[in-house]
Amino acid sequence: MLTAEAPATNVSLPATDRNEPARGGAVIALESLSKTYSEVVAVRDFNLPVEGGEFCTLLGPSGSGKTTTLMMIAGFVQPTRGRILINGSDVTRLPPQRRGLGVVFQNYALFPHMSVFDNVAFPLAMRHVPGAEVRELVARMLKIVELTGFEKRLPYQLSGGQQQRVALARALVFEPTVLLMDEPLGALDKKLRASLQLELKHLQRRLNVTVIYVTHDQEEALTMSDKIVVMRDGMIDQVGTPEDLYERPETAFVADFIGEANFVTGVVTATTAEFATIEHPAGRTIRGVCAHRFEVGAAAVASMRPEQLWLATGRPTGDDENALPGRVTEITYLGEAIKYHVIVGEARPRLAQTLVVRERARSDSARFAEGDAVHVVWPVTETRLLDGRDDVG
């Protein structure tokens, strides 16, 4: 066993004359990481570089393998295949206590029998940091998470948000270069979550630590991340910045999972380098921007964000715009916007589908009423053509 050896540490002593721990977030590389449980593949051929100081989020529905991936990085799950590199050195076979990573668990995993101080001091005690140093480091960390004065409390005497901060302080006090977080805000109510998201982001910037964050909440991922990894069925669907994923989804799954999207399926009839035309089975053609190269005759899905769509009484004349005729079935006021549900392709019941249109509310709001015949119109440049074999939920 390797237990006798001291755990990995980045605590440089003495650190008395520094107000702020200076550190650089570690570079992480995951190389063809796979995990199989007897027959079930939890994670398949996972490749991901994470830059130093980056806030990287693993986003996906439950069962997508994101927690398993995080646990492999933390060292609690042994990968079946592949390597994990931190700052260039292979840690795949290193036991978790020697990886020196900060981990914040779901529900925080605060030690119930220890005070706030003892919880935060725990990693320092494991590293045999002398007492005076411990007091100073803990005090500084508690100040950062704004919990000064709570040292003697036991975890059950704290609110959910406070427990979360203690967990964070505990994971950061030994100045790890990587922080792993597993749905750390999942147990909190919406409002608290929103404020903690920003705090967390600021703290990460300030301490310049590399964060790998797991969540199933796309809004949270968009708010906090530098890079989002969308996972599905143990594989990466798409990696990109929040803007990339929202504006330029590469799969229908990503378009659907992040934000809201309308989908119209069809067969490619013509392509150019950037654009392609698909024909909807009902006979209408739709032009859009290709997410990747298409062959003529291939199945494709046109994906549009509801806020890019608007309603018109007649068919527009320009060919910069796509349009589908339909009928308004439902109108919802959202305050700053109005949401219309429009059924299109009613003539052929099997092909009928509902599009969601989100128009900004204007003074002459509700220009349309339920039952009105309308055209749903949107720009060709805001139409993304995605692989049609991909099933859309």
Binding site: M1, L2, T3, A4, P7, A8, T9, A74, G75, F76, P95, P96, Q97, R99, G100, L101, G102, V103, F105, Q106, N107, Y108, A109, L110, F111, P112, H113, F122, P123, M126, R127, L154, P155, Y156, G160, Q163, R170, A171, F174, L180, G186, A187, L188
Partner: protein, 273 residues
Amino acid sequence: MDRERSRLTVGNVPVRIAAWSGLAFLIGPLFVIVPVSFSSAQYLTFPPPGLSLQWYERFFSSSQWLDSVWVSLQVAVISSIASMVLGVLAAFPLVRTEFRGKMVVYAVILAPMIVPLIVSAIAIFFLFASLGLTGTVIAIAIGHTVVVLPVVVIIVTATLQAFDIRLEQAAISLGAGPLTAFRRVTLPVIAPGVVSGGLFAFLTSFDELMIPLFLGGPDAQTLAVRIWNSVILEIEPTIAAVSTFLIVLALLVLGLASLLQRIRPRSGLARSG
């Protein structure tokens, strides 16, 4: 309570009377014993004609009674500690590890609870008799360890099942080795469960008669055997004094256990969503 009222209609008054009579039947005898132990009469009678501490005096001045308390204490302490050690060790793989034949292992460990005590007692008696080891404290303690081990395993596995393994992982991620994590995090958190398992083991061993009846001897007579012998030979109020002592012991253990139970939810997991 509204819900209760909606349930408890006419037919329920007799049912309630029956229930509380049943409970009176259960608790009543304990209220007979305690007064008898303070009786001033020289013979056994209820209700006692007057009060005195003579039977307690007799109990505390009799080396026979006190010796048997000492033997019982030794047996109970050894068997509860031994069963706690064996039980805690076994509980970990039973809860944490998936392996084939787990149900068989469970069955083996819980079997002493299923096999009638008289059968276990004579079987173990035959073993120690052939080794010439009957009549010793250690023989009784071993017998009792067999009998109380299932109790401890049940309580400790239940405790361990409720333990959030992420606490242990958190400790390890913070730099603790597996053993340190166990010692500083897992053990303190499951301690109330382990201790209440030990308490029940202690009480069970203290009361159990069959094992010491067969495995004991003149030099190793537990309190239970001493009571048994005097109940068979003569019924006199000293036993009532001893009994009162044992009732207090049961109360104490029950109280302690429920106190430990109350610690647990507090120190359990962080509030979950």
